[in-house]
């Protein structure tokens, strides 16, 4: 029945469309010939608008022999007015010139949002975020998202995001359409996204269109730059944490371009130097290396065909090496290497094709892999002969990899309808853990074992169709449905996921919005801690553990305040119910307890989150910025955790406030300030203690004491205690010098300017008087930093 209705609707749209001409094409950046994603196009005569899709494509239908005026605008660009006479289907490419970007900082596009059925979307203006205060000289898009309403940070200094009460695994993070699993460096200090290589970043926290799925709480759609089609451009920057080099250039002018961007940390260089400084003959070294390599080739095959190749590889490696250390009898020498490393590899090949003026398609083939390794390796040599006689090789390995094929189509049957449809097929391969141990001594293999948790292979598929249609001048909707399937070990999970968003324009300045979305997530993250370590393990739904699911309802109000104020107001209320969540059983972690991870988890958990979010933006003028406030409640419930009683989620923040202010002083100086406030995290804290009859060995300083009585703790409930509230002020001052095509930017930043000692964790200890007291450990009292960037 559903299928027949869809076919009938589709036929009617086709019949209607045959009476019209179509104008279509791409919107380009005039300087680079890169396509502009999300540019707004408004036809004055028709009083209708649209925006370019993820590949910069747009299409309008107009009555025959009509003349129209199109106003094309996008943040950071001058508005372009294009007048076109239509007497047939027309292909028209539109170029936008970069404009007054330094004076604009905007995270939503209200003019578009007022008339379109979209809600809970946050877009980052990549060019502007460079002027926001940085932590240790690093601009990080994930940390900028943390300043948005409904987006919370976890632990201080980390770049993970918690969207509307969801956990980090519930964010689908797409880099050029390919999902990434773990997107943090250095335990979450910075994300893997090098801002120099990123073109756009859009976060959907609700009102999910049917084209997106696979996670419960958010979709973060990140698009890499395409590369300059006209001339060589570059950027070099250096900060405390890392150095970055980006080059973009035409391989064949206006036909093929490329971009390569490399970011590398400088810790290991410092630590290697430190060891050599201590001892020039040093036989040991240790350090920490991170790198990110982004590359993309963009090739225009014809007016109708376009090919992209995107590649990302990122890596963290903590290492310590020793060489030529002697055995106690000097008969042997040993070389050893120990390292912990993790990283992602992503690539995607995408082919755009314009089938006709109304039908645009994209085929993507991609691959993503995340791995986490702990390796210890030692080789034993005979001192005199240098003959290798022994090997010790032990380690732990965890990987998840996906092969992805997807097809997405945009169809423009009329100005009242914009249809998107497509499908995805993903082959997942999970190896949650593999331990191996090999020992060879005196050329005799003494031990050679591998313990694997079973590798799990699964297939995920989805089909979707959505229609953004205009019901009347005031009312527009986006309705869609996504069918998903997940097959693992012969078990099949199928789910239809209805999606709906409506927009009702009360006036030219105000609109009401509503949305409903049902989402499923066939993978889970087993999180050992809130610290954000990569040791958290990705595992799929299995025969015994169902996929997670959520229902989310959002109501919104959008209002553009009088022009002299230059303010936009967005208010959204949401309710989200999550089901079939998993967590470790009480007292267990991946590293404790026995057997396969499935024996260690509680499944069937429920989550409930609701709240109100307010966003006030000032987008234009010398002072810009925004105020974001969230009021929310976030709980979890498992049958066998906390005696089945509902408890607060660790990041249940009743209040979250972010204030961002940018002062454009002149063409050379930009000032910026950020103030954030958040309710403290919920933690499990013992309120009382008692003695029990249990033999134990206490580690007290440098000695051990033994006792037949031990102190134990009494916990009144899970996450029963609130850490002190979190707040801080960050300041930034950027000095810009333009010299022809060259631009130099010096940036001085102060993180936590008033030195608030925000708690990272709490602990009990004795003070100097011998009394036991509660202490708060803080990471970052105040961190000034400096960075320099040179563009040509």
């Amino acid at each position: 029945m559903m299928m027949k209705l869809l076919l009938l609707m589709f036929s009617l749209m086709v019949l209607h469309s045959s009476a019209q001409h179509t104008i279509s094409g791409f919107v380009y950046d005039s300087a680079t010939s890169e396509r502009v994603i999300g540019a707004n196009l408004y036809v004055t005569e028709l009083k209708t608008g649209t925006s370019t899709n993820n590949y910069g494509f747009y299409a309008f239908n107009v009555a025959k022999s009509d003349s129209i005026t199109i106003m094309v605008s996008f943040v950071g660009y001058k508005t372009e007015v294009v007048r076109i006479y239509i007497d047939k289907n027309i292909r028209r490419e539109i170029s936008l010139s970069q404009g007054i970007q330094l004076k604009e900082v905007t995270i939503t596009s209200v003019s578009t949002s007022l008339s379109k059925p979209i809600i809970s979307i946050l877009e980052l203006p990549m060019k502007q975020i460079a002027y926001l205060p940085k932590l240790a000289g690093e601009t990080d898009i994930m940390r900028v998202f943390q300043l948005m309403p409904g987006v919370q940070m976890g632990k201080e200094g980390t770049s993970g995001i918690y969207v509307r009460g969801g956990s980090p695994d519930q964010n689908l993070i797409l880099l050029d359409d390919i999902p990434m699993y773990y997107v943090n460096h250095i335990g979450g200090f910075i994300s893997v996204f090098n801002p120099n290589a990123i073109n756009s970043a859009t976060l959907y926290k609700g009102g999910f269109p049917a084209r997106y799925g696979g996670r419960l709480s958010s979709i973060l759609d990140i698009r890499m730059k395409e590369g300059n089609m006209k001339e060589i451009k570059g950027n070099f920057s250096i900060g405390i944490l890392s150095s970055k080099l980006t080059l973009e250039f035409p391989i064949k002018k206006d036909k093929t371009s490329a971009i390569i961007s490399l970011r590398r940390s400088i810790f290991d260089l410092v630590t290697r130097g430190y060891f050599l400084l201590l001892d020039p003959e040093s036989k040991q070294s240790a350090g920490y290396t991170i790198y990110d390599l982004n590359a993309k080739i963009n090739h225009k095959i014809s007016d109708k065909d376009h090919l992209y190749f995107s590649f990302y590889s990122g890596h963290d490696r903590l290492f310590s090496n020793q060489r030529d250390f002697d055995s106690y009898d000097n008969k042997f020498k040993f070389n050893s290497k120990r390292y912990t490393q993790w990283g992602n590899t992503v690539f995607a090949i995408r082919w755009n094709h314009i089938y006709n003026n109304r039908l645009f398609g994209n085929i993507t083939i991609g691959y993503t892999r995340f791995y986490y390794n702990i390796i210890a390796n030692a080789n034993k040599y005979v001192t005199e002969t240098h003959e290798k006689v022994g090997v010790v090789n032990t380690g732990f390995n965890s990987t998840v990899s996906d092969g992805i094929t997807k097809a997405d189509f945009d169809y423009y049957p009329s100005n009242k309808h914009h249809v998107k449809f497509g499908g995805t097929l993903i082959y997942h391969k999970y190896n949650p853990s593999s331990n191996f141990s090999k020992l060879i001594d005196n050329n005799v293999t003494l031990n050679d074992t591998t313990f694997n948790s079973p590798t799990i292979k699964a297939v995920e598929m989805s089909l979707y169709a959505e229609d953004e249609f205009t019901v009347s001048d005031a009312l527009s909707m986006n309705t869609g449905i996504r069918f998903t399937g997940f097959v693992v070990d012969g078990k099949k999970y199928y789910s239809p996921e209805p999606r709906f968003t409506a927009n009702y324009a009360i006036s030219s300045n105000s609109s009401l919005k509503a949305s409903y979305a049902y989402m499923t997530q066939p993978i889970h993250l087993l999180s050992n801690s809130g610290v954000g370590l990569p040791a958290d393990l990705w595992v799929p739904a299995t025969v015994n553990i169902k996929p997670e699911s959520s229902h989310q309802i959002v109501l919104g109000f959008l209002h553009r305040l009088p022009e002299k104020l230059g303010l936009d107001l967005t208010v959204e209320a949401f309710y989200k119910h999550m089901a079939d969540l998993i967590d470790f059983k009480e007292g267990l972690s991946f590293f404790s307890g026995k057997g396969d991870w499935q024996n260690k988890v509680e499944s069937g958990g429920k989550g409930e989150v609701f709240g109100v979010e307010v966003l006030i933006e000032k987008k234009e003028g010398k002072i810009t910025g925004w105020l974001a406030y969230s009021l929310s409640r976030n709980t979890r419930q498992f049958a066998n955790i906390n005696s089945g009683i509902r408890y607060p989620y660790v990041y249940d923040h009743t209040h979250d406030i972010s204030l961002v202010v940018n002062q454009y002083v002149n063409d050379h100086i930009t000032l910026s300030a950020i103030w954030v406030y958040s309710t403290g995290n919920a933690i499990t804290m013992p309120t009382n203690k008692n003695l029990v009859s249990a033999m134990t060995f206490y580690d007290v300083g440098n000695y051990i004491i033994g006792s037949y009585y031990s102190e134990s703790h009494i916990y009144p409930g899970k996450n029963n205690y609130r850490m002190p509230a979190y707040h801080r002020l960050d300041l930034s001052c950027s000095f810009t010098r333009h010299n022809g095509k060259r631009t130099k930017v010096w940036s001085i930043d102060i993180y936590n300017a008033y030195c608030r000692l925000n708690p990272f964790y709490l602990y009990f200890d004795k003070n100097k008087a011998g009394d036991i007291k509660l202490y708060s450990f803080s990471l970052f009292p105040i961190i000034p930093s400096f960075s320099y960037s040179y563009s040509f």
Binding site: L446, F584, G593, N688, S693, I714, Y775
Partner: protein, 317 residues
């Protein structure tokens, strides 16, 4: 695991200027309850300990020295136990195998507490070995060997039994202290022990049920790389200096309690150092400790034990 530590050390390098400050502990539960502890050991005089719960920051003695502690068996009152010191109450009555005992404690201002358990029957050790040289590994570049222990005994098929095994070295330290060492880092666990899921919590003793081998013979074999050692005010067994294998037949209460204790202890997250805190981030969430004491906390549980002296057989020499 060392590599994880290494990773953690690296994280520490990033923590440029971390610092601590004292803060106020809010909302701590001020209601104090009695804590009754008594491990009933077959053929040993019964000793109970009474204390009270206290705020985590409480830094004084928690022992209760003015309690009335009664010993019962079924509905029969045996006697009131006598206070000695540090919350300890004793009687000359020795616990007997197969008997059930109830202890009741009351103190003015607290709710009366009580706990009951039965003393299980002991099992006989058939054989036990302590060897070195079969399982090599390399530590700090040197070839080392795990210490291998084994114990053989028969399970009584008439009962559901729970056991605890200790591989102990005991030596009289001073007139009033005993040096006791127990292997605590098990590298190759016996499948029966491994099934209990406690190895990664670094227990010093090994508990298991006869669920898997009810009524049959047990041959437990384990290899260890490290031990925990310290001085105790009481010996584990009444014997001369040396290595012993101790087999305890334990009550279900003791089994459940000890299982929860090892998990509870591992997840206490008491450290003040950032290194250990992050390391403890890899542990699980806090785990509630089992109690069978009505209206209070603590444990009343029982075991009977036998032991066998063992000599090290060193195959490396």
């Amino acid at each position: 695991m060392r590599a994880i530590h290494l990773y953690i050390q690296g994280i520490l390098c990033l923590l440029l200027a971390g610092c601590s400050k004292e803060i106020t502990l809010r909302n701590s539960d001020p209601v104090s309850k009695l804590v009754l502890n008594c491990i009933l050991i077959a053929d040993e005089p019964i000793v109970a300990n009474v204390s009270h719960t206290a705020n985590v920051t409480f830094n004084e003695s928690m022992y209760v020295n003015n309690a009335i502690v009664e010993l019962w068996t079924g509905n029969t009152f045996i006697e009131e136990m006598k206070y000695t010191k540090d919350g300890e109450y004793t009687t000359q009555v020795r616990a007997k195998e197969g008997m059930s005992y109830t202890l009741k404690a009351r103190v003015q201002g607290y709710e009366q507490v009580e706990g009951t358990d039965s003393v299980p029957k002991s099992a006989r050790i058939i054989d036990s070995k302590y060897e070195k040289g079969d399982h090599p590994y390399i530590s700090a570049g040197e070839l080392e060997y795990y210490a291998d222990y084994s114990i053989v005994f028969n399970d009584d098929p008439k009962y559901v039994n729970f056991y605890e095994v200790l591989f102990a070295f005991q030596m009289k330290d001073t007139d009033s202290t005993y040096f006791i060492s127990l292997p605590s880092v098990c590298r190759i666990p016996d499948p029966v022990i491994d099934d209990e899921g406690l190895i990664n919590f670094f227990p010093e003793t090994y508990i298991f049920s006869d669920q898997r081998n009810n009524g049959s013979g047990f041959n437990i074999e384990m290899s260890f790389s490290a031990s925990s050692s310290s001085s105790f005010t009481k010996p584990l067994i009444n014997g001369n200096d040396g290595s012993y294998t101790i087999l305890r037949t334990i009550s279900k209460n003791y089994y459940v309690f000890l299982k929860s204790w090892y998990i509870h202890r591992y997840n206490l997250q008491l450290s003040s150092s950032i290194t250990e805190m992050i390391y403890e981030g890899l542990t699980g969430n806090p785990f509630p400790l089992y109690t069978n004491v009505k209206n209070g906390y603590g444990i009343v549980a029982a075991y009977s034990q036998t032991f066998l002296k063992t000599e090290l057989i060193d195959h490396t020499k």
